[in-house]
Homo-oligomer: 189 residues x 2
């Protein structure tokens, strides 16, 4: 795949930062143009359908980023459950490092906020959660779990983590994320 | 407490509906005025600080509604864990009944979306989650649980349910909520 021009990267990276910091609705195209220093024409050249098309690309990028981190973490330990705990611990460390202000979980800005508005954004978010679910499920199956058990455990992990991230952002504390880590051993008994 | 005038109720109920259906940022004061049929003057008469003050009242109401439902459900069974399962099942039934479109979990529109923007809205959401946590914790302690164990279990239940609601809204399916119900017995072993 040919590298995208710098002006394209500039717009997408600025938009991703703003969407993840403020949410979809709070971010206007003018702010994206101003902060990326791009002329209006370039945004509509790359994204003729405007904000929604740009958000789809940001969701795709956000998904790729999480998938990479998740795959790396899950390959980091022979025991998949210990590896999942380590991934969630890393998420807590990231949240603390970002200081919570301006830190927004994917499931929040993308999934719920946009799902009520646009079907194409909703589908992009469904695909994202499905991708994550497959990564967890395949890793657990590779360690001998039955498919159905692996799949329901994957859905639970994603639920717990997304919910804990909402509590963490609200309370500006990583304690709810570490609380999930603590409960995981009990879930596999 | 004296009853609020009809015009006040009208504004608050319309605003609550719109905030919960569309999110905070997607809802403008003009839409609230139009849909409630209120003159602009009455909104600023009751809420001189505008949208933020109105949202605080909607968060307070949303919290009261959930607290009532939660207290009723937790009093409905001698076994607090079965009662919690029943509460989550009721939430799934509500989600199905509302058809998911325009259904938005509290933690979503209020907590995460507004926490990044306003400290007073963030504090209102922290208080809401703390209230729920106390209700679960007290119920479990009344059934003989140690305080610390009851508190961490309460935080986990709230995390799982808020996260499952985000998945449910995104996928337009109550399956992630029922998945939480299924895992609860394992958590107390």
């Amino acid at each position: 795949m040919a590298a995208k021009p710098e002006s394209y990267e500039n717009i997408v990276q600025t938009a991703s930062k703003l969407f993840f910091h403020q949410g979809y609705h709070a971010t206007g195209l003018n702010q994206i143009l101003t902060e990326s220093g791009s002329p209006k024409g370039s945004l509509y050249y790359y994204f003729p359908r405007g904000k929604e098309e740009l958000a789809l690309e940001c969701i795709r990028r956000g998904n790729e980023l999480v998938k990479q981190k998740l795959k790396k973490a899950l390959a980091g330990n022979d025991d998949p459950v210990l590896a999942i705990q380590e991934f969630i611990r890393e998420t807590a460390v990231d949240a603390d490092r970002n200081g919570f202000s301006g830190f927004m979980p994917f499931g929040f800005w993308a999934a719920a906020e946009t799902s009520c508005i646009s079907e194409s954004l909703r589908h992009a978010c469904v695909n994202t959660f499905t991708d994550w679910q497959h990564i967890y499920t395949e890793r657990l199956q590779a360690a001998g779990w039955m498919e159905e058990k692996a799949r329901s455990f994957a859905v639970l992990i994603i639920s717990m983590l997304e919910g804990a991230l909402i509590l963490a952002v609200t309370q500006q504390s990583s304690a709810p994320i570490y609380n999930v880590v603590d409960y995981i051993p009990q879930l596999i008994k």
